[in-house]
Amino acid sequence: MIRLENISKTFRVRKRNAGFGRALRALFSREYEDIHALRDVSFAVNDGEMVGYIGPNGAGKSTTIKIMCGVLTPDGGACDINGRTPWKHRVAHVRDIGVVFGQRSQLWWDVPVIDSFELIRDIYKTPQAIYKRNLDELTDALELAEILKTPARSLSLGQRMRCEVVASLLHDPKILFLDEPTIGLDAVSKIAVRQFIKRLNAERGTTVLLTTHDMQDIEALTERIILIGKGQILLDGTLETLRQRANINASEMTDGNIATDAEAWVAALYKEYEI
């Protein structure tokens, strides 16, 4: 059970101005700018649910994920994940979660993938039997058996991403956070990753929260969607309600040209909320 209540987060960024003179002046007097990354973000996710978290770049998706992972502490609000506050009980909390940062690898570049997996097993103190079972199941499902002995640097992006997913699941997490898991993947890999996530959710009941810009991900995977823009939750509902909502607006905007595919109606939503 994930519950966020009125989470807010402000970053203080030093203003950087163009021009040499201004840069010089900035040495002596610093101007700060408050950026409200999150404003009163509240939502709840039940066990076993699969939720898509969408929004344009800079909307606050990653910040929310990082708060839920215990990496960042919010300025205000409460967050309760399986009875724990992530930033207060970091070590106990992260044992139960898996995280895939799509743009950052957790595999060791120069050693065979299997060695990275074994290190992760030791980091999480996963019992050998469970590790073995998970590894067999996961490599089978994602068709990785042949590349386990290959160093990460020699893998294609698609192969690597599948390995990332495996690495995040070896310790039997109850919740899986996926931050752009299909970024840059080819169609085959995308479908493989999607099917796998779906199976994981159905068979093991793992709660999945994923952020993505790929609307096909959303259509293929999630029933429920949370839309965030400029740090605020704008919509929280099923795929269908969002689609209908977008269609109404799209029809207003584009003189009856009803947006049909996901890309279009999401774009329409972004437009409507001016995010």
Binding site: V71, F101, W108, W109, V111
Partner: protein
């Protein structure tokens, strides 16, 4: 500890992927340290003593500092390269692992090429020890070990401070190198030769003299006071503010990091 051994073997495997590069870095490290050795050698070709210390005594001083520094770099390189870890998101990954943060930063890097420098120190020490005229009784041997081990910890503390600074600036601060690399380079001579001000600074602020100058006095028989033997251990107190500063930086990261 077992986990660290695991990390260690991963680092060996990684670095052995680039054997030639490893060999050259090792050699480079050896040569850099050798240049410092030569500077001492030429200095003593003209002068019989520096600050009242003989050639062999200064060589011991030099070897101890190099050894301490290379040991701390070998183990604590993760802190020395901390800006990179912070920049590429590696630190976020560390935060989502159920292990101590400091441990993971330590384990994130092991720099074997520092062995080149270490070997140099061993050679110099092997040359200087028998010629120094010091009677190597157990207390002298213990003093020497204290100097090396505590010196390594002290340099490590400086790396930690350096890393903690990057929480605030997000970039490495070169001025810290005055203390780390500078400490190593200038530590080839007993700190007393740099004058009273420097010695005071290195005694009370950044206690590098506690692992070098004072125990050296005991080692070379300039003082009979046994307390000088244990002075290096006192330097370990320096690690407390280092740790506190790092914790402070981490709290700041958790509230501002991106």
């Amino acid at each position: 500890m077992k986990l660290y051994a695991k990390y260690f073997s991963m680092h060996i495997k990684s670095q052995m992927q680039y054997k030639l590069s490893f060999f050259f870095t090792c050699t480079g490290q050896f040569l850099v340290a050798f240049a410092t050795f030569l500077s001492i050698h030429f200095l003593f070709a003209r002068f019989d003593s520096v600050g009242g210390f003989t050639y062999e005594e200064v060589l011991i001083c030099f070897a101890v500092m190099i050894m301490a520094f290379s040991l701390s770099e070998l183990i604590g390189r993760g802190f020395d390269r901390f800006p990179i870890l912070l920049g590429n998101g590696g630190f976020d990954r560390i935060m989502v692992r159920p292990r101590n943060v400091v441990f993971q930063v330590l384990a994130s890097q092991v720099e074997f090429s520092r062995l080149g420098r270490f070997i140099q120190a061993v050679v110099v020490l092997a040359f200087a020890l028998p010629r120094s005229g010091i009677d190597w009784t157990w207390d002298k041997i213990l003093t020497l070990i204290f100097m090396i081990v505590c010196g390594a910890f002290l340099f490590f503390g400086l790396f930690v401070i350096y890393a903690a600074f990057t929480f605030f600036t997000l970039e490495g601060l070169e001025f810290m190198n005055i203390l780390t690399d500078g400490g190593r380079e200038h530590g080839r001579l007993p700190f007393s030769v740099y004058g009273d001000g420097v010695l005071k600074f290195l005694t009370y602020v950044v206690p590098l003299a506690l692992v070098q100058y004072y125990p050296l006095l005991y080692l070379t028989g300039r003082t009979e006071d046994m307390r000088y033997m244990f002075v290096p251990i006192l330097a370990l107190l320096f690690l407390i503010p280092c740790r506190a500063f790092f914790k402070l930086g981490m709290r700041k990261y958790k509230s501002t990091g991106s």
